[in-house]
């Protein structure tokens, strides 16, 4: 499922809203998630999961082409922990559905 398919599915379920408004709403939710993480704050959605930042300490990396070592500064990476409901639902249906893109 892609973002546009998600928008279409949400529009079908809310026929009183214009497609344009559903598009804007989805964009608004996604922007707010990115902004929140960019400011170092967590996101907690009950039943879905939580997003937080994980710290990566500075390290010496290598340029894979030249083999030369490069020092990399510390950084933060986004991390998602699925909630119980999502974990249970996905696992319960694993024999019924194949994984598709």
């Amino acid at each position: 499922m892609t973002k546009s398919e998600l928008i279409e599915a949400l529009a079908r379920q809310q026929p009183h809203l214009a497609l344009k408004d559903v598009e804007l709403a989805v964009k608004c939710i996604i922007d707010q998630m990115s902004e929140t993480l960019a400011s170092g704050e967590r996101i907690e959605i009950r039943g879905f999961g939580s997003f937080s930042l994980h710290h990566r300490p500075p390290r010496i990396g290598r340029n894979p082409k030249t083999g030369e070592s490069v020092s990399l500064t510390e950084k933060f990476v986004p991390h998602f922990k699925p909630g119980k409901e999502l974990r249970d639902r996905v696992d319960a249906s694993r024999e019924k559905y194949k994984i598709i893109d």
Binding site: I30, V77, H79, P82, S93, K96, I99, D101
Partner: protein
Amino acid sequence: MALTKADFSERLFDELGLNKREAKEMVELFFEEIKASLERGEQVKISGFGKFELRDKASRPGRNPKTGEEIPITARRVVTFRAGQKLKARVESYAGTQ
């Protein structure tokens, strides 16, 4: 304070003019639709944000960390999230202390 569903609907109310009920419903449906898709085995790719992927794990031997007792971990399907380039770049430079 972590961001919750109420914060998302508040912004939909403030910025898009959805009424409170519509805003709340939109946020509920947004997360429910992603869960339903993953439940059907369909991975979800949100461009600019990231991809919710599915992985089938084989069973493996496990251990109760408290008692040391061996208990098999059953085969299962799990959800993983891979942040997209844009989100990674925005988060990487976060310099605050946690």
